[in-house]
C-alpha cells in the first residue's frame, strides 16, 4: 500500500548548524502535510504544516519544503539547538473514500544535536 517514509533514521548535527530532515510520500492524493516533533517520553507536538498548493512555508526557525513532482517533503531547522534533539515525524493527510480525512505517519527520524 501507499505510505509515508523517511530517508534517514538518525541525523546528527553540530549545535548552531542547520538541519534538514527528509520525508518521501507515495500517495499523490495527499493534499496536506504536517511535521511533528516528539521528545523522549512525550507525545508528538505539532511543528508546522503545509498544503499541497504551496511549495514552502516558514515558521520560527523552521521551514517546510514540498516538492510534489518527486513527492518529497523536508523540514529545515535553522541554527539547531540542543532542545531540538527529538524524533521528527512527517504525516500526510488525505481524504478517504468514506469522506473522512486521515493522517498517516512516517516512521520518524531521530535528530541528535552535538554540543
Amino acid at each position: 500500500g501507499e505510505s509515508v517514509g523517511l530517508h534517514l533514521p538518525t541525523l546528527s548535527v553540530q549545535e548552531g548548524d542547520n538541519s534538514i530532515i527528509n520525508c518521501a510520500y507515495s500517495n499523490s492524493a495527499s493534499d496536506y502535510f504536517i511535521w511533528y516533533k516528539q521528545e523522549s517520553g512525550k507525545g508528538p507536538q505539532f511543528i508546522i504544516d503545509i498544503r499541497s498548493n504551496m511549495d514552502k512555508r516558514q515558521g520560527q526557525r523552521v521551514t517546510v519544503l514540498l516538492n510534489k513532482t518527486v513527492k518529497h517533503l523536508s523540514l529545515q531547522i535553522a541554527a539547531t539547538q540542543p532542545g531540538d534533539s527529538a524524533v521528527y515525524f512527517c504525516a500526510e493527510n488525505i481524504e478517504e473514500d468514506t469522506g473522512r480525512r486521515a493522517l498517516t505517519f512516517g516512521s520518524g527520524t531521530r535528530l541528535q544535536v552535538q554540543p
Partner: protein, 117 residues
C-alpha cells in the same frame, strides 16, 4: 488548560486481563483518536471518534474497543490483552474536517506505556 491527559502513565498487565486506558481533553474538540506507537514504526491509528456518540475503526482496531459518551472522554479498552499489544498508546484530539477545509492540528497526550506479559 491541561490539554489532553492520559492515565495511567504506565502499566504492566498480565496476558488475558482487561484494561481501560483513559483519555480526557479540556479543549472541547469534537474529534478524538487513539494511536499506538511501536519501536521503528510511526503512529498507527486504532480508533477514532469524529464527535460524541460516534466511533470508527482505524488501521489496527482488532483487540481494542472505544466509546465516546461525551465530548471530553475517549476511553480505550483491551478486553483480553495479548503481548503484541505491548506499546505506547497516545490519545489525540482535533477539530474535525470541515467541508472545503483541512484536518486541523491534532494535539497529543503524554502517552500510556503498556507492557503485556
Amino acid at each position: 488548560t491541561a490539554g489532553i491527559t492520559q492515565a495511567p502513565t504506565s502499566q504492566i498487565l498480565a496476558a488475558g486481563r482487561s484494561m481501560t486506558l483513559r483519555c480526557t481533553q479540556d479543549m472541547r474538540h469534537n474529534a478524538m483518536y487513539w494511536y499506538r506507537q511501536d519501536l521503528g514504526l510511526g503512529l498507527r491509528l486504532i480508533h477514532y471518534s469524529n464527535t460524541a456518540g460516534t466511533t470508527g475503526k482505524g488501521e489496527v482496531p482488532d483487540g481494542y474497543s472505544v466509546s465516546r459518551a461525551n465530548t471530553d472522554d475517549f476511553p480505550l479498552t483491551l478486553a483480553s490483552a495479548v503481548p503484541s499489544q505491548t506499546s505506547v498508546y497516545f490519545c489525540a484530539s482535533s477539530e474535525p474536517f470541515r467541508g472545503g477545509g483541512f484536518l486541523e492540528t491534532q494535539y497529543f497526550g503524554p502517552g500510556t506505556r503498556l507492557l503485556v506479559l
